[in-house]
């Protein structure tokens, strides 16, 4: 018996489910292998559902598979942040003076250094934008040099902090500090700010 075909104009008007769910497949250590629409990974055990936004970033090449990994214990996708986000080219990158908020135009700083003049403490914190599911990649030590005011040739204190220490928490140092001093660092992030309270 001959099959009767639907009228083309009626067929084209039929609603189609346009929603595509994306999954990332991964190795046993959590490294990503690929990003696929759901129907393509039905038989693969190591898979995790990912946001459309992340899938788009990866499939369009804006980010790559190595920017993410699966945290195996929690089965969550985490972003691996490249530790150094700033290219070290100029002397101001290698020996960057953290400018006082009073003199700076920096908005939305990545690293904030808070000086409590009363308690003589320096408190280091990081912008909230780095606090969500970020794993820092590689060596993450940041060295801060507390020096004479605007003179890195005269070193007073040298402080070492790991990025992870201040991603979701702050880190404070009680120090013997002069009335005026400066803080210099290797410029790993783009924007630093110094503030006195």
């Amino acid at each position: 018996m001959e099959q009767e075909l639907m009228d083309f104009d009626e067929w084209i008007k039929l609603p189609v489910n346009q929603t595509i769910e994306y999954y990332a497949t991964f190795k046993d250590d959590g490294a990503l292998i690929g990003v696929y629409p759901s129907h393509a990974v039905a038989d693969i055990p190591n898979k995790i559902k990912i946001d459309d936004e992340v899938a788009t970033l990866i499939t369009t090449g804006a980010e790559n598979l190595f920017s993410y990994k699966v945290d195996i214990p929690t089965k969550k996708l985490v972003k691996l942040n490249k530790f150094s986000t700033h290219s070290l080219i100029k002397i101001d990158d290698i020996l960057h003076r953290v400018i006082d908020k009073k003199w700076s135009n920096v908005q939305d700083p990545d690293i904030i250094i808070l000086h409590n003049a009363k308690n003589n403490t320096l408190t280091f914190s990081m912008s909230d934008k780095y606090s969500n599911d970020i794993v820092w990649d590689g060596a993450t030590e940041m060295i801060f040099l507390v020096t004479d005011y605007n003179d890195p040739n005269v070193l007073i204190h040298m402080l070492s902090i790991r990025a992870g220490d201040i991603t979701e928490n702050t880190k404070s140092f009680a120090l013997d500090l002069p009335t005026r001093f400066s803080v210099y660092t290797r410029r790993i992030f783009d924007k630093y700010i110094f503030e006195t309270t």
Partner: protein, 280 residues
């Protein structure tokens, strides 16, 4: 003795020349002896001076808008209120007392323009990267950023008159005297050098002296083995609350012609103000 420093500035959309002149005047007040620390400012809009925290650093404020940009400096002899004047570029800083040299100039010179400048490490600049016009056309290597002159000097008057005439007729003078390497702009340095050459007074107005030692911070003449867009990309600029300046790890004692206009920012101006207020 009637002596003072003259700074000529004009409004500019990109650079706040008044701020630079203010910082220079503060540094003069902070470092020079009384009697050697007078400063006159020539500016197209004198009302702006009232907005400064310490306008008193300018002993004279002269409204003048006949020329724009650096051409105004060529009128220094007619604008100065002093009998003996050193005209300076605005983007300079004084770092210690040089007043003994002013006595020397007043006693021995009618007009003096240095022919040497120095790197931030104290080496004499020999590289002609920015001065091909001078070397190719055998001009005396004058740096007008520090020009001493006596008001009543005929030599100085003749020199400045010709300098102005050259600036007003750059094409004619370039074709005639600078044909081997024409500058894009006949600025004050070129005009003064050509004026000295035509008048044949180079040896009278620019003989070898130990002063002024002006550190010139143009990047390609720092005797570096690499090219650079700015000195401060490779050496830090560290000005402290005592008014001392290190460039890289070299302490500066000479006059610094810092060139990069954004180096003297509000923070440095506030430090200079604080020193001036504590001194007075």
């Amino acid at each position: 003795m009637n002596f003072g420093y003259l700074i000529v500035v004009a409004s500019n959309n990109d650079i706040d020349y008044l701020k630079l002149a203010y910082a220079l005047a503060l540094s003069i007040k902070n470092t020079q002896k009384p009697g050697y620390d007078k400063v006159a400012l020539v500016i197209d809009n004198p009302q702006l001076v009232d907005n400064l925290k310490s306008p008193w650093v300018f002993d004279h404020v002269i409204g003048w808008n006949k020329e724009t940009h650096w051409d105004g400096r060529s009128w220094m002899d007619q604008l100065s209120p002093f009998e003996n004047t050193v005209c300076l570029d605005a983007d300079m800083l004084f770092l210690r007392d040089y007043s003994h040299w002013i006595d020397y100039f007043i006693e021995n010179c009618e007009l003096y323009i240095p022919s040497k400048a120095f790197t931030y490490r104290g080496e004499t600049i020999t590289n002609d990267f920015y001065r091909k016009t001078f070397t190719k056309n055998s001009l005396p290597n004058l740096y007008s950023m520090f020009t001493f002159f006596k008001q009543e000097s005929e030599l100085a008057t003749e020199f400045f008159n010709l300098g102005r005439y050259i600036i007003k007729n750059p094409v004619e003078f370039s074709n005639l005297y600078l044909a081997k390497h024409k500058p894009k702009v006949v600025g004050t340095d070129e005009a003064f050098a050509l004026s000295a050459k035509i008048l044949d007074i180079s040896d009278i107005i620019s003989y070898d002296l130990e002063f002024p030692k002006v550190v010139h911070m143009k990047p390609m003449i720092q005797n570096w083995a690499w090219t650079a867009d700015k000195v401060t990309e490779h050496a830090g600029f560290y000005f402290n609350t005592q008014g001392n300046l290190k460039i890289g790890n070299y302490q500066q004692n000479s006059i610094v012609h810092y060139v990069e206009k954004d180096l003297v920012n509000d923070e440095i101006v506030s430090m200079l103000e604080e020193i001036a207020w504590n001194k007075n």
